[in-house]
Symmetry: D2
Subunit: 142 residues, 4 copies
Amino acid sequence: MSASARTTIDVEVRYAETDQMGVVHHAAYLVWFELARTRHCATSGFTYAEIEQMGYWMMVTGVEVSYRQGARYGETVQIECWIDRLTSRTVHFAYVVRRDGRRLATGRSHHLWVRAADLAPCRIPERLAEPFARLVATESQA
Amino acid sequence: MSASARTTIDVEVRYAETDQMGVVHHAAYLVWFELARTRHCATSGFTYAEIEQMGYWMMVTGVEVSYRQGARYGETVQIECWIDRLTSRTVHFAYVVRRDGRRLATGRSHHLWVRAADLAPCRIPERLAEPFARLVATESQA
Amino acid sequence: MSASARTTIDVEVRYAETDQMGVVHHAAYLVWFELARTRHCATSGFTYAEIEQMGYWMMVTGVEVSYRQGARYGETVQIECWIDRLTSRTVHFAYVVRRDGRRLATGRSHHLWVRAADLAPCRIPERLAEPFARLVATESQA
Amino acid sequence: MSASARTTIDVEVRYAETDQMGVVHHAAYLVWFELARTRHCATSGFTYAEIEQMGYWMMVTGVEVSYRQGARYGETVQIECWIDRLTSRTVHFAYVVRRDGRRLATGRSHHLWVRAADLAPCRIPERLAEPFARLVATESQA
């Protein structure tokens, strides 16, 4: 995969993700975001699993979700993910959940680079700096 | 239970709530918030299960969480919950997660009253207006 | 999709599915089974969402799982699902979870047809009898 | 806590645990079992968190659950847990889930002692042999 501005994944709604309202429970969206983020990170040339093996974590420091309409079992939704902002020490992702082009939810997640060994905040690992910057650069040109 | 400004519950961390970072996955906090909200609503004199039986839902329209420190398996955390803001059509809850008095996370959730039958937004059910207002009134006096 | 003996789906391990042992939590396998079962039922010509809309549920009455080796974040696993046994009132599914051809887990789930309206056990809905029997017939011929 | 034959815990049903059938999703029972097992292990004098810190895991090798009746949001259920069988290398737990004395589900889980460092199966850690045997002994006398 080459660096791309935005990654969109398909997610089939799982029965276990629904609640007694008959729609997907609101906490499941964070798990979907993570799935899209995983796929988007991989376009940098490094999967998140590999990044962890290098000894780094993108620790989640915050999330926001705005829900407009529910997703239902039997449906497949699309999660679009992109890097909204990148600093030397943080990464900020944005997400849109859609079904047939209609927005169901939007969200953001905020991450801090930390060393897995001691949880100390750190700068983006050197090998990732350029690949991640390229993701954003591509974005700006889009 | 009588109306009270704030409700604090104890939650024992579940093994299944941890992830491979060794701490509780960030999505679990939304489930903990819901548990605290359930208990806090009950102090109004109506459990949320009863509210649903009346034909109403407090639909989640948004959430925000800010994470400071992770919770671990083997720990019991405290979730404090209160109504942050109340309008004729919406309820806004705030949360603090603590372990031994130390803040692990804070959050808010936003809810819209809807009729379960047709998902139409509506005013707070009449029988609940006064009990919910009392929760906030108590809060202001605290 | 036409009736087929067995359905195999790919499932990308979600970070949230791991626990602090560094592998997928054992409860997640039931959710994966359900996902494979959903896809397998659809080959009958009726999705499970449609079956529910007809007013029937395949209520889970039992499950068994045997775990051999853990699945990890960063991996994609295959879930194979087939109908193991079919009676006029019950359906029994079997599952194998594999990664690169290697067995990670096996399982079974047992289901009872019930009418959604009153939860009364019932015979397999008439419109489904033949399509489901065909799934098993195909299986026997395989 | 002193060694006891059986441990019973109260679990408040979480909204997120329900699915669109209006009852608790069947996978949630495995998480409840784990919660009861955690509490039961602690009566040995060693919490499971401490056991992991010693460098050992009770790896889950199998589970079986039999479901009779659903649990609902708004309810509190009781999970009873005991050691069903103990060998030098394995531990087998049994569970009953009840609501107001009525059986909702029963289950068993099977565990193998492994060294966390290399996942090699091993005998029960020496310091735990006697405390765990005592749990079973108490049981036999009950």
